[in-house]
Every structure is written in C-alpha cells, then in structure tokens.
Amino acid sequence: MRRYVQAQDLSRLPLLQRADVLDVLYVGYGLAVVALVLASYVIGALGWLPHDPRAIDVALINAAPFTPGHPLGTDFLGRDLQARLILGIQAYFLPGLLAIAISLAGGCVLGVLAGYRGGPLETLVTYFANLVDSFPRLVLILLVIAAFKPDIYYVMVVVGITGMPAIANLVAGKIAFLRQKSFIEAAHALGLPAHSVILKHILWLNCRTVLVIQATLGMAEAILIETSLSYLGFGVQEPTPSWGNMVQAGANYFLQGNFWPSTAPALAILATILGFQLLGDGLNNLLEGKRRR
C-alpha cells in the first residue's frame, strides 16, 4: 500500500526516507571520525603503538609517507609520525570531555532556570551570555594561563564555562516551546514534582538530541582551542606530542619546502574538527530539522 504523505507530515516518514543525502554523508563521516578518534585514544592510552613515539632515528629525518616501516613518515628527529599522531589525541581527549561536561551541566542548569522560572533569572542568563561573548576566548584563556598556570584542565574549565550560554539558550528556548504543550501541563496537573518534570520530561525526553549535538560541536571547539594553545606553546610540551606542537615543530622545515611533518598533524586537526562539526550539523538537520545558526 502506498503511503501519501503531506509536506507537513514529513516527520512521520522513517528517518532515512526524509533525510537529505548530504546530511547522511555528514553524519557518516562524522561517526567515522569519532570512531577513529576513540579507537586511537584507546590504543594510545594502552600503549599499543606501532612505533615508539619518542624513538629518534637520525638516519630517517623528515621521511615522506609510505617509507617502509613508517607509513605516515617521520618528523624532524626521525620519530614516527603515525605513533605521534595517535598519541597526540591524549592531549585533548579527556580535557575536551571535561569542557563538554561543564558546558552541558552548567548550560542545562542555567537554561532550566531561565526557561522554567523566567523573569529576572532570564535577564541574568542573557547578561551572562553577553558577558562571556565580550571576551575573545583565546585572550581570556591567556589571562587565566598567566594568572594560574599553563594547565590544559584550567583552560578547559574556561572553555566549558564560556560554552554554557549557548547551551542555556537552546535549553531555555526548548522549554519555552514545551511549556505550551499539553503533556507538560498534564504532568503538572497530575502533581508530578517539578524536578521530575524537568529532568525526565524536559531534559531527558526532549532535550537529549540537542545536548548530544552540542556536545559534538563542543568537542570541535575543544580540539580547536587545544591545538591552538599547544601550537602557541602553552599546551603539552615536547617531547610529548600534541597535534598543535607537531605543526609548530615542523614549521621551519615547512618553509624550506618540507611540507609533510607540519602538514600531517594539520590535516589531522582539519579532518577531526570537520568530522565533529559535520556530525553535529548533520544530526541537527536530521533530528531537529533545522540549520544551525
């Protein structure tokens, strides 16, 4: 039997039938990147690296990719780039998760306060959002680094706090929309306690996709910040690899025409940030049905 679906009822179609091909490709690529990052993180954490990332080999300096034994080539000290790229994930993975956790937790609390209680609290959250937007993020982070110490976890706390308002706005908007719905009214009429309505019916059942999307976009942001900082010399220090300090270490050779040692980590940054961004935007288009602004 053929189903006739009107334009407004598009959401009744199974997910894959109403999906844009491009969005499916975005999500597919993003999931592949996430899987690769996760797998590489575990490999790096367990130390199952193909090579010792600190083993220096002066006979093989700045080797091109596909050199026997070094599929991704070597850096300026002849260290295996593949192993260093895999180990470089350690520099941002857990800190990035911390930043995401802080943004999500704080953003949900602020969003619920603004959306559910409204009034002066809403004004306060808007004020906080504008305050956070007043600082260039990198400048605020450099201030914290100067005042405290160049520790990636301090930095990620700042990234997490500055990421809160965006999530708070989304949650508050969602709540403003949901409050008119009869099921929330019914939940209140049934005498469900406020925390149950908020936690279960609003945050868990209706905001989780938004929050997952924000988490993936947050990871892209965290990687961008970590690589920028380690490029600037405030992150992980040599000889511990991070994608940012690998680009920096290869810079002199880059200008002499030896592109690869600097380009390999740069491409890793590009591909990974792109993956998390596309995953977030693709999921947003598929599940929420709107473009990110």
Partner: protein, 308 residues
C-alpha cells in the same frame, strides 16, 4: 516631528549605553576575580597593596583596582618595566588595523556570495560551496598561514614576516595585506558570515511585504535593504569581532605582527599580569563598542526597536 516620537529612540539608546556600561562592569569583575584568586598575588604587581592603605577585603581591593584602571593606570609591565597603557595604545592600533581589515575583507567576500545565493536560491553549485565553506572553517589558521608565507617567499620573492615592523621598505603596506588575507579567510568567520547573511536575506525575501513590493513593481532591493541586508551585516560583523581578536593572537604569532595578540602571547609566557590584564580589558571594550555600534544601527533603522 513630535517630541513623543523622538523620545523612545533616545530612551532605547540610553538603555543600550547602560547595558554596555553594565557589561563593562561585569568584564572588570571577571578580570579582577581572576587576578584576585591567582596565586602569587598579581594585584601587588598592579600597585594594589595593603601597605598603601588599601583594605585587605576584596571589595576594598576591587575599588582600589577599579580606580586605578579608570584613571588609565594599568601598572607597569613586569618584563619591560614600561607603563602598560601607552604600550597597549601603540600595538593596539596594529591589531585594530589587522582585525578591521580582516573584517572588511571577510564582508567583501561573503556579501556577494550570500546575496547571489539568496537571490538565486538552490543551485547545483550550492552543495559544493557549502562543503567548501565547512572545510575552510576547519583549516587550522597557523598552518594556512605557513602555506601563504611559503607561497609568498617562493613564488613572489616576498617575505611577509617582517610586515609592520620598523624597517619600512618600499610597498611595505603590501606585506601587511598578507596577514589580513589569512585572518579574513581562514578563521571560520567567512563561512559563518555567508551562512548568516544568506539565511537572513532569504527569510526577508520570502516576507509578505517583499512580495507586495514585487507585485506593485517597486524596487525589491530597496525594500529588503534594511532588514535583509543592513541589520544582518552589522549583526554578524559585531558578533565576529571577538573571534577575529582571538584569531589575531595566532595570526600575529605566525607573521610576527607587532600587535596585541603577540603581546598577549608574550605576557602569558612571562606571567606579565599587568599587560595581559590590559589586553583583556581593551579587547572586551573593543567588543562591546562594536556591539554598541550594531545596536545603534539596529535602533536607527528599525522603527519597532523603540517600541519593544
């Protein structure tokens, strides 16, 4: 014009000024809190000392610190011993030139693309352009900078690293365009600007009043200009100022550009509190000023703004 018709706009602008002042006060509290809780008592380096009769409680210290900052006394750099404010003014101009140049360049690229996309609707090239914009926004700025430097050295025999330094050569201003090019195209600002402008313009072009204008043969662009063009452009430009200032930290590092970003980097290296504090305050002030300008434009062209 009746007085009652003028009054609300004035009131709105006064409100915007008050909001800006309130936000700048918030900025000062954040910066003070970071300095207050930092180990090693950085406030001492700024001359807020108990020995000079400043209360040891935080409100007293905040008041003393605020008074100093408002008088333009940002302290002396720990590294060079020079007073911070004149130094800041000197390098701040370079950063202003870099960021405003990049902003202008981004707008110059984004506006035609966005207008074309909004006016013509979906074309086959759109998907490719969207993907290209995604990729461009994920390119690490520093690496892109190296590519540009390499191309300039080896193709044009120019060395853009010395741009902006004291050694003024012939056509020195040409070199200074290179960092602007990098910051303007590769900091993720470009794709977001295109997306925002395109969405807003498409939305406005679909409004009823545009259809009416079209139907009666009136020029569509003149009707769509304020809401569909002027407001979104100023909105996105002011919203992108903090991103460009952040990107300037990296671009200035790559190109050895003597601006606030490089100074911030140096100050963070040396734990030079007065300098980094001054830069944070100056950057925040710049951002709020841009935002205020945007609100003024918004209020001026939007008659509803005064009634909200």
């Amino acid at each position: 014009m009746k007085l009652s018709a003028v009054k609300p706009v004035g009131r709105v602008l006064a409100r915007e000024l008050a909001v800006t002042a309130l936000l700048l006060a918030g900025v000062s509290v954040v910066v003070f809190a970071i300095l207050y809780f930092a180990p090693g008592n950085p406030l001492h380096a700024l001359g807020v000392r108990e020995a000079e009769g400043v209360a040891s409680t935080w409100p007293g210290q905040y008041a003393a610190w605020c008074a100093k900052v408002l008088q333009g006394d940002f302290g002396h750099s720990v590294r060079t011993g020079l007073p911070v404010l004149p130094e800041l003014a000197r390098v701040g101009l370079n950063t202003l030139y870099l960021t405003l140049g990049a902003l202008a360049l981004t707008a110059a690229i984004a506006v035609p693309i966005a207008v074309h996309a909004a006016a013509r609707g979906d074309t086959p090239g759109n998907a490719a352009a969207t993907i290209a914009a995604y990729v461009l926004s994920a390119v690490p700025v520093f690496w892109f900078g190296y590519i540009v430097v390499y191309v300039f050295i080896h193709q044009f025999g120019m060395f853009p690293l010395i741009s902006g330094t004291a050694t003024r050569q012939q056509n020195a201003w040409l070199y200074s365009l290179v960092p602007i090019l990098v910051l303007g195209t590769a900091s993720g600002t470009l794709s977001e600007m295109i997306r925002h402008l395109r969405e807003e313009l498409s939305r406005v072009l679909a409004e009823d009043y545009i259809r009416t204008a079209r139907a009666k043969g009136a020029p569509v662009w003149r009707h769509a200009f304020k809401e569909g063009f002027l407001i979104p452009v100023t909105e996105i430009m002011s919203a992108k100022i903090p991103f460009l200032l952040g990107g300037a930290v990296i671009v200035e590092q790559v190109f050895n550009w003597p601006g606030m970003g490089r100074m911030a980097w140096q100050a963070a290296q040396d734990r030079d509190f007065p300098v980094i504090m001054g830069i944070a305050l100056a950057a925040a002030a710049f951002v709020r000023l841009g935002s205020l300008a945007q609100r003024v434009v918004f209020t001026a062209v939007n008659p509803r703004a005064s009634k909200e």
